[in-house]
Symmetry: D2
Amino acid sequence: MPRAAIMTGPGRPIEVQDRPAGDLEPGSVLLETIYSEVCGTDVHLHHGRLAGVPYPIIPGHVSVGRVVEVAGEVVDIDGHSVREGDVATFHDVHETCHACWYCQVARAPNRCPSRKVYGVTYGAEDGLLGGWSESIYLKPGVKVIPLPESVSPDRLIAAGCGLATAIHAVDRAGIRVGDAVSVQGSGPVGLGAAILALLSGADPVIVVGDPAERLATARAFGVDHVISVSETSPTERVEAVRELTGGRGADVTIEATGVPSAVREGLGMTRDAGRYVIVGHYTDAGEATINPHTDINLKHLEIRGAWGADFNHFYRMVGILHRHGDRFDWERMITRRYRLDEMNEALGDVEHGRVVKAVVEP
Amino acid sequence: MPRAAIMTGPGRPIEVQDRPAGDLEPGSVLLETIYSEVCGTDVHLHHGRLAGVPYPIIPGHVSVGRVVEVAGEVVDIDGHSVREGDVATFHDVHETCHACWYCQVARAPNRCPSRKVYGVTYGAEDGLLGGWSESIYLKPGVKVIPLPESVSPDRLIAAGCGLATAIHAVDRAGIRVGDAVSVQGSGPVGLGAAILALLSGADPVIVVGDPAERLATARAFGVDHVISVSETSPTERVEAVRELTGGRGADVTIEATGVPSAVREGLGMTRDAGRYVIVGHYTDAGEATINPHTDINLKHLEIRGAWGADFNHFYRMVGILHRHGDRFDWERMITRRYRLDEMNEALGDVEHGRVVKAVVEP
Amino acid sequence: MPRAAIMTGPGRPIEVQDRPAGDLEPGSVLLETIYSEVCGTDVHLHHGRLAGVPYPIIPGHVSVGRVVEVAGEVVDIDGHSVREGDVATFHDVHETCHACWYCQVARAPNRCPSRKVYGVTYGAEDGLLGGWSESIYLKPGVKVIPLPESVSPDRLIAAGCGLATAIHAVDRAGIRVGDAVSVQGSGPVGLGAAILALLSGADPVIVVGDPAERLATARAFGVDHVISVSETSPTERVEAVRELTGGRGADVTIEATGVPSAVREGLGMTRDAGRYVIVGHYTDAGEATINPHTDINLKHLEIRGAWGADFNHFYRMVGILHRHGDRFDWERMITRRYRLDEMNEALGDVEHGRVVKAVVEP
Amino acid sequence: MPRAAIMTGPGRPIEVQDRPAGDLEPGSVLLETIYSEVCGTDVHLHHGRLAGVPYPIIPGHVSVGRVVEVAGEVVDIDGHSVREGDVATFHDVHETCHACWYCQVARAPNRCPSRKVYGVTYGAEDGLLGGWSESIYLKPGVKVIPLPESVSPDRLIAAGCGLATAIHAVDRAGIRVGDAVSVQGSGPVGLGAAILALLSGADPVIVVGDPAERLATARAFGVDHVISVSETSPTERVEAVRELTGGRGADVTIEATGVPSAVREGLGMTRDAGRYVIVGHYTDAGEATINPHTDINLKHLEIRGAWGADFNHFYRMVGILHRHGDRFDWERMITRRYRLDEMNEALGDVEHGRVVKAVVEP
C-alpha cells in the first residue's frame, strides 16, 4: 500500500500514512512518483490561507512519475498513446467544466468555479490525488504529458510549478525583443520569469530579490542585474531600476513576491505606458496602498493579473526545457530533496526562504 | 484689447484683465471665443494640485470659437483650408515633440515630456493661450477642427473635454457588443463614457454617481441603471452591480470619479478576467487601498490607466456629435453659462457638484 | 414517429421520411421543432462542397423549439434548469474535445478536429440531429439556451446562424466607436454584420450587395449607404466606398459574400492599416487573385479569417436580440416559410438569392 | 567636392559624379560615409518599380558614417548631444508630418503621404540625401543614432535595413516563447527575421530559401532547419514545415521573399489560427493566387502586412546589436564590399542573389 504525506489540517504536523491505491477506472493512469515539490502554495495551505480546502489532503500539485499502469487507451495531446514505463508529468488543474460562463463566454477557464487542482482541492479520502505520495492516481481526463528523453525528471521538477506559472505571466506581459524587464522576487516563479524574459530577448533583465544565493543563481542564469532587497530601501530599488533603464523604468515588471508592499514599488519601477503583471499574489497576504493618479492614470499604465497556469503553459514548459536544457543549469533551482517523513522540515525551509526549491522524493 | 479671466495663483481669486492679442505668426489662427468650459481640472488648478503650472494663467483647455484671422495657409487634418468665419474647436494638447523616446519608441505621445496644454501649461504672459478669454491665439501647428454645420457650438462644448477623455477611456476598455459596462462617476467624463458605452452596444450600462439630477440626466441618455452613491454603502453598490450582471460583475468598469476609494469598489464591481479603466484620477487625490490577491491576481483582471486625450479622440468626438446629434440631448449637460466676471462662482459650482457642466461665454 | 426532410446525397432531391426518435440518454433533451432555417451552407451541402459529410443527413444547424422532454437535470450556462415547455435554441457545434492541441494550446476550439455540427456532420442514422425535422434530439452536453419571453421564436430564427456568425466576424474586426465599416454581402451574415456595426457605433456603415430588396432591408435597418453590385463595376464600388470615407477607404471591411473575386475588391475598399475580415468563405468557391504588394504589404493591412461561431456568439446573440428587439425589424429577414415537403424549393430560392432567409416550419 | 554614385534613371548605368555638399542649415549634421548598402529595394529602383521616384537620385537608404560637422545643437532620442567624431546611423524615413490623418488618427505614420526616405524619394539635386556618396547631409529633424562602441560600423551595416525591417515584421507577428516560426526567404530580411525569432525564444525556427551559402549562414546563426527552394517543390516545402511542427504548421510564418507565389505556400505552412506576416513585398512583383476558403476562412488565420520600418525599429536594432553582438556572427551577412564605381556590378550581384549583402564603401 503506497505511503503518502498527509496534511491533516492547518497548523498541524504532516503525517505519513499508508493509503490504498484503489482500482483504476477506464481512462485513468497510475504513476509511481519520482518527484513532487513543495511550493509556496503548500506553505499557504499549511497556514490555512486558501479557502475551501478539504483537509486532510495529500499536497503536491506538480509532480513527475513513471507510468506503472494505464487503464485502457489514454492519449496525450499530440495523439500519442501513453504507455507503461513512460516518464510523465501532468496538468494539476483538472475538470474545468467547459460548460460554464467563464469557460465558454469569458474564455477564462482558469476562473471556472468547477476547477479541481491536484494536491489542493481534493481530500485524501478522494484517492491518491497529490504528489507527496509514492503513487499518484491520474483520473480519466487528467492531461498526461510524457517527457522526452531530453527532459529528465530532475529538470522537470526543478522548473515545475514555478516555470509554468511564469510562462503564464510572461504571456500576459507581452515582452518584445529588446524590452527592459524587471522581476520582483527570486523564488521559483521569479527566477522562471527571469529565464523566460531572457529567452524572449529582453534587455536588460533585472531581478529584485533575496537572499544572496538566489541572486547568485539569477546571475548564473544570465540575468543582467540583481538588486538585493535586504540591502536597499524601496526608493533605492526604484531608483536603481530606473538608472538601469535609461531613467524611464522597465517596459515590463513582473511581480512574483506575494508581498503587498511590492506592488507600489513595482509600479514605480515601470515606465509610463508600460505593463505590470501581478502573478505572485496567489494567496491573500493583505492589502497594498497605491496612488491611482501617480501610479496608474498619469503613468498610462496597464496592470494585468495572471491566475494560475493553464494546460498550455505546462505543455509549453516541457518544450522549453527540451529546447533550452543546456543553456540554463535548471537543476540549480533544487536546493534539497526531502523524504516523505521530512515534509515538516521542508515546509519550514520553504517558508523561511532557506531553499529555492524543495523537492519531494517519496 | 480682448478681456481674459486670469487665474493668478492657487487659492487666489480669478481676475478679469485686458490682454494684448499680439501679432499672428505665419500658420497661426485667431479665434473669437464662443464658448470655453470649466472642467474639474480647472478646480484642481485653482487648488494648486498640478505640478509645474506657470501661474498666472488663462484657464480653459477645451473651447470653440469663430475664426477671425488666418495667417497664411492653415489646413485641417482632412486637408481642407481653415477660413475666416469657420466655427472651430482645436486640440488643446500641443507640441508633443515627435522626437522623444515616448513619442517615438513607446508610441505614447500622451507621455511626451514636451507636451503643452492650452489653459494649463502656458502662462498668461505667453499670449492668449486659454479659453477663458474673448480671443484665443492658435499657435502654428495647433490642430484646428472646423465644425460641420450639424455640430453647433453648444453641442461641442456640452460634450467638450469630458467626451474626448471618455473616448480615450472607452478605446482602452475594448467594449464588445453586449458587454456589461459600469461607470463610476456622473460628471462629464462619466456621462460621456456612459453614452459611448451605449453607442458601443454595451448591455447593460450602469452609472454609479450623484447627485440626483446627474443620474436623471444619465437615465435620459438611455443608461439602464443608476445607483446613487449617497444612498448606498460601498458593499451595496458592488452587490447592486453584481446583481445587474448575472452575479458576476461588469465586463468593463470605467472609473471617472477621482476619488481614491472608488478604485477598490470598482474592482469589486468588475467580473473575473474583466477590464478596469482608470481615467478619473487626472490629479493626485491621495492613496487608495487594494488587495493584490483578491482584487487583481485571483480575479485575473486587467487595469488600464488612460491619460488625457489625444488628437484622434478630439477628432472622433466631432464625428460622434455629428452622427448622434439627435440621439442624445447633449446640451442637457450644460447646467449654466458664466461670463468672465463670474468665474470664481463657476469654479465653486463645479467643485461642489452644483452643475454638470459650467460653460464660459466670454 | 417524427417526420424529417432528408438530404440523401449531393445533387439528389430532399425526401421527407419518418424517423424514429429513440430513447433519451441521461442529460439529453427532446425539442419539438418550431423553426429551423435554410442557410447558404445547406446549399453547399446539397452541392457536395463540404468534405466528409455522412449523407444521408438531416440538415438544419440553427433551430428553435419547445422542450418536450428532459432526461434528468440539464442546466443552461447561467445555472438555470431547463424545463419542459421552455422555448429554446442550442449551439449547433457540439463535442469540441477540450483535449486536443487546438482546444488547449492554440485555444482555437473552432478548429478542433473532433468538432461535430448539428445538421452537417451527423448522419440521419445517428438520430434526429438536424433541424429539418419535427423533433430534434439534443445529446447530453449540447448547450441549450432557453429564450427569454422578449425573444420570440420568429426573432431568433430571423437572426439565426447569420447573426451568430456575424458576431464572430465583428469580434475579430475590433470596431471602435466612429469607425467606418463596409460590409460586402447582403445575405443574413452581411445584414447581421451591418446591424452589429451600427450597434458598435460605426459611422458610416456601408453595405455592398444585391438584390434591391435586400438593400432596402439594409436601409430599413439604418445602414447609411448601400451599393448595388449589379449596377456597378468593381472599380466603381471601390471608388464609391472611398468617397464615402474621406477618400481613404473603410477602417474595417467585412467580407460576407463567398465570392472569391470579392476579396481583392474588399481589400481595395479598406484603408491603409485597416482590417479586413473574411467570414463569407465558409465553403470552397475557388481561388482569388490578390496583389501582395499593393493589397497587403504597402497597405500595412490586417486580414483576419473568422471560422464559424462559438457558443459565446450564440449566447450573446440572444442577449442582443433581447436588448435591441425593438430597434430593428429583425423578422423582415424572413422572406418565406417552408414546410418539410417544400425543401427542394427552399434550397433553390436560397441559392438564387430569391429570399433573404428561408425558414423551415416543420 | 564629395563623389556620389548617381542612379540617373531606370535601366540606365550608375554614374559617379562630384556633388556639392552645400551649406549646413541649423540643426543639420554632415556625415562622412563609412558604409552604405545595396538592398533589394535599390534593384527595384533601378528597374523603375517604385512609383514617384525623382530620378536622378543618390541611392542608399541605410548607412553609417562619422559625424564631421554639427550645425548647432542636435540631440539624439535619449537626450545626448551629437558630437563631431561620433559614429552614427540615422533613420532613413524622414518628415512624416505628425499632422495628417494617418499620423494622427490611424496612428500609422508609416502610411503618412508626406513621408520622405533617404536614397529613395529625394532627387540628387536636393542634396547629399543618399548613402552611395562620400558624404551624407542629415537635414534638421533627421533622427541620428550615435553607435555605442560595442556596435562597429561593420556590424551595423551587416544588419542594416534588413534587420530593422525584420524587427517590424516580428513585432507584428507577436511571437511567444516556444512558438514554431517559419521564415520564407534567406536574404537580409529573412535572415534577420530568423535571428529575431531565435532571440524571441521560438522553437523551432525554419528558414526556407536559397542558395546554399545563405542557408549555411542561417544554420550558422542557429536556425534549426533549412529547406532549399531549388531542391524542393512547393508541396514538399509545405509538407516539410508541417512535419517539423507536429503536423500542424508553424504558429507564425514570415514572408520575406517578394515572390508572389510564396504567399499561398506560406499560408499552407502556417497552422490553423496562426499568423502570417507579409514583409517581403516591398515592391510590386505581380499577383498571387490564394483560396479564401482553405487558406484564410477555414484556417481562421491572420495575415498582417508590415510596411517599412519606423524609427523605433532602427533604435531597437542598435540595442539588439549591442546586446547580442557576440552571439551571432553578424558580419557574415556581408559578402562583398563595393567602391562607388562598382555599383553597377553590385546591383547585378544583389539582383541575382550572388551575395547576401552588398556593402558600399565609398
